[in-house]
């Protein structure tokens, strides 16, 4: 479904991603893990069309999306739940959800709204409240629901646990597993490695702009290097 081949990305003169390749198959949940500054978010920005890779190719659904403008990528069916939630702060929760379905604006979106309210009952109570006034955990739920409203072929989650109270992180983990159960193809980027490995089928470990190891989540959890570096074993 998504194939990233030897992608290099630079900020000005400085290359920060040095030829990264990975793939996400349909129905799979793949995690991209690694420390701060490994280039995870940069790669996601390139996939979503917010950055143009300097080399390599990104193929989604059989067609290259490398260098396409961001809104075109979104219209092809990649939805992103971005780091830091990125609410539309002065719009209501309901409006935020509707905007998630912007690419399907000619269709009726009421069934999906109901579905999201089922998935996150707390959003129903908050539906007329401004998104900017919600707590971090609630905003994360809006961000997840907003991404799902697009009915995406691929849903990307960028650090959904970042800056969220530990108790709510457990909730988010459960939610991700639930979403996976719905058959949504997921690319999950996380620093909370143990959580990511519990949710994902496979994982790639990224360090300093390169993939250093990859395998099934089981293999990664048992890998001594991953254990010592990320799992505190």
């Amino acid at each position: 479904m998504l194939t990233v081949t030897d992608v290099r990305i630079s900020y000005g003169q400085a290359e920060v991603v040095h030829g990264v390749s990975f793939a996400v198959e349909e129905g799979e949940c793949v995690a991209l893990i690694g420390p701060n500054g490994a280039g995870k978010s940069t790669i996601l920005k390139a996939i979503c069309g917010l950055l143009r890779p300097s080399a390599g190719d990104i193929v989604f659904d059989g067609r290259s999306v490398a260098g396409l403008p961001g809104h075109e990528v979104a219209r092809r069916g990649i939805a992103m739940c971005p780091e830091g939630r990125q609410m539309f702060p002065e719009m209501t929760v309901m409006e935020n959800l509707k905007l998630g379905a912007y690419r399907r604006r000619s269709e009726s979106i009421t069934p999906e709204i109901d579905e999201m309210m089922e998935l996150f009952p707390r959003l129903r109570e908050r539906s007329t409240q401004m998104a900017g006034t919600l707590s971090g955990g609630e905003q994360e739920m809006v961000a997840i629901a907003r991404a799902l409203m697009a009915k995406p072929k691929l849903c990307i989650f960028d650090e959904p646990s970042l800056g969220i109270a530990p108790k709510v992180v457990d909730e988010i983990e459960e939610t991700l597993i639930k979403i996976k159960g719905l058959g949504v193809t997921i690319l999950l980027v996380e620093q909370a490695v143990s959580m990511a490995l519990r949710v994902a089928d496979r994982a790639y470990v990224l360090e300093a702009g390169e993939v250093v190891t990859a395998g099934t989540s089981q293999e990664m959890s048992n890998d001594p290097r991953v254990q010592s570096a990320y799992l505190g074993a």
């Binding site: 809104h71 971005p82 702060p89 905007l99 912007y102 697009a150």
Partner: protein, 289 residues
């Protein structure tokens, strides 16, 4: 005294509704692109001249002429966005600032070349005067108020209720997130410039009917427009509506009850007061993000 008060309130609301139309365009453009579009007043005057030209030369009525001029203004706005502002959208803001000043001169001088140096008054034929309990309501002023109200309500519905309006607000509040939703930010920018310029032209026509279309009027309009933005809050639509009416009414009161020499002093006093005590503007909550 009460009659006087109501009379001046009415007059103030009429002027204020024109300020609101000017400020609405400026505030939406500022909200989306962060640009102080100084040429807005010249675009308004261009529309005023054009309406006069349509009425005089083509012999079509006021409202069709005004509608045509608004369409022409919208096109001009889209062209300005594409040709002038779009190329510098990622450059430091000073670039757009300098371009805005340059555009103001270019359009102002183009108006002189196209339409001449004479001031023109747009003929409306609305010469009747109604009187209710000693308060006079000239027909033209009533129409101005009604036209402005219709446009403001239409704009509010457009921005609040339609997908395009939601897209406009989304881009203003969080540009990268808007892109992730599949919103074409370039298309939204063009739409906003078209819409704002059409509103500006409407304001220009109303000014031309009430006072005159003339060289030099545009700068006054823009200054008042930005004063309203400061009063109401940059980028705020309710702020532009309330701010415009407030400025119009306070100016009219100052003229009527103090002296016309103090008209502009009041505008600036209001601005200074807001900047001192509520710098985010009357209709903007502080620290919302």
């Amino acid at each position: 005294m009460l009659v006087d008060l109501i009379q001046q309130l009415f007059n103030g609301l009429v002027i204020g509704s024109i300020y609101t139309l000017v400020a609405l365009g400026l505030t939406i453009i500022f909200g989306i692109l962060g640009i102080a579009h100084f040429a807005h007043g010249s675009v308004a005057m261009f529309g005023g001249y054009l309406t006069f030209f349509f009425i005089q030369s083509l012999g079509i009525g006021l409202f069709p002429s005004m509608a045509l001029a608004m369409v022409a203004g919208a096109l001009l706005g889209v062209i300005l966005e594409r040709v002038a502002y779009h190329p510098v959208r990622n450059a430091p803001p000073i670039n757009a600032f300098i371009i805005a000043l340059g555009l103001t001169l270019i359009i102002e001088k183009s108006n002189l070349i196209l339409f001449g140096v004479d001031q023109v008054i747009i003929p409306t034929g609305f010469d009747r005067v109604f009187e209710i309990g000693g308060v006079t309501f000239p027909e033209l002023r009533v129409y101005i108020l009604v036209i402005a109200a219709v446009l403001v309500i239409a704009l509010t519905i457009l921005i609040q209720k339609t997908w395009m309006g939601m897209a406009v607000r989304a881009v203003a509040q969080n540009r990268p997130a808007a892109i992730l939703m599949g919103i074409n930010v370039d298309a939204v920018s063009m739409f906003v410039f078209g819409l704002s310029s059409a509103l500006g032209v409407a304001a220009g026509v109303l000014v031309g009917a009430l006072f005159a279309v003339a060289p030099g009027v545009s700068s006054g309009l823009v200054v008042k427009g930005f004063a309203v933005l400061i009063l109401g809050g940059l980028g705020s639509i309710p702020g532009a509506i309330i701010g415009g009416l407030l400025l119009g009414v306070s100016e009219t009161f100052a003229t009527a009850f103090i002296s016309s020499a103090y008209k502009d002093v009041i505008a600036f006093l209001l601005m200074i007061g807001v900047l001192l005590f509520k710098p985010e503007g009357l209709m903007r909550r502080s620290a919302t993000r």
